[in-house]
């Protein structure tokens, strides 16, 4: 049964997650698609890291998937490995009208996707 919508201004808090590594690419709805594709490609080509992990949360899942597929199309020998997880999200609901109201905290869960992109084969004689 859906909970009644709390009144007041809702502020989303940053979710908990693993510390960011150099090989992590986090996707949001406002991210620049082409810039992120290029970042994944550069990371794989220069081989600074063994794999690139693309993360997306909630509405950004589709974008993360598109980015991973775009990277797969742009280079040969790409393998994708997908996992999903659930993230606990916390929102603050601040009722600005009522002085004596308690602060409400809205908990919700959302799904996240983690796509590991690895580059397997290297064509002999060709530059990476």
């Amino acid at each position: 049964m859906p909970q009644p919508k709390p009144t007041g201004t809702i502020t989303k808090r940053a979710p908990q997650r693993k510390p960011t590594l150099e090989s992590d690419v986090y996707v949001s709805r406002k991210s620049n698609f082409k810039a992120l594709c290029k970042r994944c490609e550069t990371l794989l080509k220069t081989q600074k890291v063994s794999h690139v992990m693309v993360h997306g949360l909630g509405a950004a899942v589709t974008k993360a998937v598109s980015i991973a597929l775009a990277v797969k199309d742009s280079m040969p020998g790409i393998e994708l490995h997908v996992t999903t997880s659930t993230v606990n999200l916390i929102d603050d609901v601040i009722n600005e009208d009522d002085e004596n109201a308690d602060d409400q905290v809205n908990e919700r869960k959302n799904s996240a996707i983690h796509i590991r992109i690895t580059r397997t084969t290297k064509v002999e004689g060709a530059l990476p």
């Binding site: 502020t11 989303k12 510390p19 916390i90 002085e99």
Partner: protein, 765 residues
């Protein structure tokens, strides 16, 4: 009696050399006897002195001229020029033999000269501190970390303090990167804290009379237990919506009974004096017994920003396990070790902790970053802590002014600690036990986000503020932060970070306040003088660029009533015509924001604002002439294509034709983003006709709806961006002129710009 001359024959006056002239001056002239045959007579003293007046004055004048023997001159100065030697002043062997004894006698009469300190000794921190004690004036205070900053920063005199303006190296980009990926520390101890003591009801009355009614009251339930920091905007009593003073943050001190509550109000020093006056006036008019004291320079405040700051704090703050006051807070802080970023915390939470002497564990050694998530049990406890933040974590003894004094000079000195370290039998490198250090220090950790309802979950907005008692403790903690890897930034850098993030910085971006007006006029004079110093051929011709005010954002002129000449040469008066009305409470701003995007007119917005104020503060008496016709609102502008606007840039209302032109232009430039764009052809940014249509075509000054207060290229966004204030009626009109796709924008131009380019605006607090 014969007249006695000087030694040797006295030649005629015109042939005397310098020595002979000097000797002649020193001769005591004698009065010749008037009557040689008269018998000797008795002396009547009065008569005698009167008669000898001539000789007495002669002797006195001779004494005055007998410089060498009265001590006015030294013996080596009486030598002829060809025998004088430089070193004679201290080395008697340089004088001829006859004069040496006299010189020795003269030297022995002098006071012994103090031995001058070597340059190295003068520059020791202890010596500099002594010099500071002697030289410090009320209006040029040093912060606790001054000595550290002075060696590495370019210092400036602002707001009665010497503050670090920027580090000595060119570090804009490095600071930006550090704020995004590492950690940044800023010494914000120049902020002034005012302590209000009195009963709860009285303090709330005093504050409610002087704050923006649409902001949550100081006495709201969420703040009363002292577990959160709140923010509001202070206006002069009875002058809302005008008479803005400054944005302030506040928090109550926990565990005080209702009759003796303590409220701490923090304000920027540019408006410090004004705030104190306003507070005092409100107390006097409400006729209550509330004491207002300034805690200036008694507390140090450090602002930490960036993802690594939380880890740095965890490492450098070693909690005192024996403190009974803060057991709950200690447990919470230990659990928070696994927190990734303070942006996950409830907004504005306060932790009252007690830490051991930071010198004992100096230098801090940071553990490598965690690679995985903590175990599930810890994750769930952390989650429950974040969702149900307890209210008893902020108790502190910092408000006790007597106990604060004990931290001014920590009791075992650095020298004593080092001695203890060398004498200890433990293996070298083992830190000293907590008992070897000074008393445990009470600190407050505040999560900075108390701006209200903003969607900003960024690191700067949500960083940690550390409040420490002033003195050695503060400096040691600062050094620990720096050694743990925080980059120190100055005032200019902080303003730059505010620009990147999109936050207004006081006083530059708050044109509604007197502090801004004073700052703006000073800046205007400085910039104008700099411009006038340059020859005409090497400086921008603002007249030709049709920029009426290149050095000042003249908001006042936009709302000036009639042909009244709002004079640029206006003096610094308190009720300056340049201070304007800006809507800034978070509730009113959201009302305006939603209203503008919905297409409401100004009158509808006014009604909504009045309703909003009534719903938050039903008892508030809104003035009858409350209107938004002359009101501004702070905006963040993002350039749509290319272009960059500088400070004092002009924001124009776009005419229908201009909206059409730029819509076409943007449509054409979007072609380049398509995958099938032919990159082999030469890239033409704009056609000649397009350039012709916009180059040097400036809209008239009546189209100006606002000015830019902080603009430039934003590294976070990758395009030009600006912070400024716009007229609400201008923004409403802009929305009315939206194109077919519903897109609406303003045109902006810097003072040196030749093209007015489109930019989208976002309304801010």
């Amino acid at each position: 009696m014969e007249q006695k001359g000087g030694s040797g024959a006295a030649p005629k006056k015109e042939f005397l050399n310098a020595k002979q002239r000097r000797v002649a001056k020193q001769v005591i002239s004698v009065q010749p006897v008037k009557n040689q045959d008269a018998p000797a007579r008795s002396i009547n003293v009065e008569e005698f002195v009167h008669a000898r007046q001539y000789e007495i004055t002669a002797m006195e004048s001779a004494l005055k001229n007998a410089t060498e023997f009265t001590g006015n001159m030294r013996v080596f100065q009486t030598l002829p020029r060809h025998m004088r030697r430089r070193a004679a002043s201290y080395n008697v062997k340089r004088l001829p033999f006859k004069y040496r004894q006299r010189a020795i006698d003269q030297i022995s009469k002098e006071k012994p000269q103090p031995i001058k300190k070597s340059r190295r000794a003068k520059r020791r921190p202890g010596a500099i501190f002594e010099m500071f004690q002697k030289r410090s004036k009320e209006d040029k205070r040093w912060l606790d970390t001054h000595l550290w900053h002075a060696k590495r920063f370019h210092m400036g005199h602002k707001w009665g303090f010497m503050v670090g303006l920027h580090p000595n190296d060119k570090s804009t980009r490095a600071n930006f990167r550090a704020s995004q990926h590492a950690s940044i520390a800023h010494d914000a101890s120049y902020n002034i804290c005012y302590e209000l003591k009195g009963s709860l009801v009285d303090i709330v009355t005093v504050m409610n009379a002087i704050v923006d009614p649409s902001c949550m009251s100081v006495g709201a339930k969420r703040y009363l237990d002292g577990s959160r920091q709140g923010s509001t905007f202070v206006h002069k009593r009875g002058e809302f919506p005008n008479g803005s003073v400054a944005p302030v943050t506040f928090f109550w001190i926990s565990n005080c009974p209702d009759e003796e509550k303590v409220l701490w109000v923090w304000v920027h020093p540019a408006a410090g004096k004004e705030l104190q006056e306003v507070l005092q006036e409100s107390v006097n008019s409400a006729n209550v017994s509330v004491s207002v004291t300034s805690l200036k320079s008694q507390l140090s405040r450090f602002e930490l920003t960036g993802p690594r700051s939380h880890a740095i704090l965890q490492e450098t703050l070693k909690l005192d396990p024996n403190c009974t006051n803060s057991t709950e807070a200690r447990k919470a802080w230990t659990l928070l070790e696994h927190l990734r970023t303070p942006a996950s915390l409830p907004a504005g939470v306060i932790l009252g902790l007690t830490i051991n002497d930071p010198r004992l564990t100096f230098p801090p050694k940071m553990k490598p970053r965690a690679t995985g998530l903590p175990p599930a049990s810890i994750q769930s406890s952390l989650h429950s802590l974040l969702t149900k933040w307890p209210s008893n974590l902020s108790s502190t003894t910092l408000n006790n002014s007597e106990s604060r004094k004990t931290y001014l000079h920590l009791s075992p000195t650095e020298h004593q600690l080092n001695k203890a370290r060398s004498e200890s039998l433990a293996p070298p490198g083992t830190p000293l036990p907590p008992s070897a250090g000074g008393p445990p220090i009470p600190i407050l950790l505040i999560q900075r986000n108390s701006i209200g309802s903003t969607d900003k979950t960024g690191e700067f907005v949500n960083g940690w503020d550390v409040i420490v008692p002033a003195g050695t403790a503060a400096v040691c903690l600062w050094k620990s932060f720096i050694f743990a890897g925080s980059h120190a930034v100055g005032i200019y850098d902080r303003r730059r970070i505010c620009f990147e993030v999109g936050i207004a910085s006081f006083p530059e971006d708050y044109p509604e306040t007197c502090a801004h007006v004073l700052w703006a006029l000073e800046e205007r004079d400085r910039k104008k003088a700099e411009w006038e110093r340059k020859p005409k051929a090497k400086r921008v011709n603002y007249e030709k660029m049709k920029v009426a005010h290149p050095f000042l954002s003249h908001y006042g002129k936009l709302v000036a009533d009639d042909e009244m000449e709002v004079d640029d040469q206006v003096g610094l008066k308190k009720d300056d015509p340049l201070a304007v009305q800006v809507v800034h409470g978070s509730k009113l701003v959201s009302v305006v924001k939603q209203g503008v995007s919905a297409g409401d007119s100004v009158t509808v917005l006014e009604k909504k604002c009045v309703e909003a104020i009534k719903s938050v503060r039903p008892g508030f008496s809104i003035p009858n002439d409350f209107s938004l016709g002359k009101a501004f609102v702070r905006c963040r502008l993002q350039m749509i294509g290319r272009g960059m606007v500088d400070e004092h840039g002009m924001i124009y209302l776009a005419s229908k034709e201009q909206v059409g032109f730029w819509t076409e232009f943007m449509k054409n430039s979007k072609e380049r983003d398509r995958d099938d764009f032919d990159w082999s052809k030469p890239l033409v940014e704009s056609t000649d006709e397009e350039i012709e249509a916009v180059l040097d075509k400036f809209p008239s000054d009546e189209q100006i709806i606002g000015y830019v207060s902080n603009g430039g290229f934003s590294m976070a966004d990758g395009h030009g961006s600006a912070m400024g204030c716009c007229l609400i009626r201008g923004l409403v009109e802009t929305k009315a002129r939206a194109n077919e796709q519903g897109k609406y924008f303003v045109l902006v131009r810097g003072p040196k710009g030749r093209i007015c380019r489109p930019a989208e605006f976002e309304i801010l607090h």
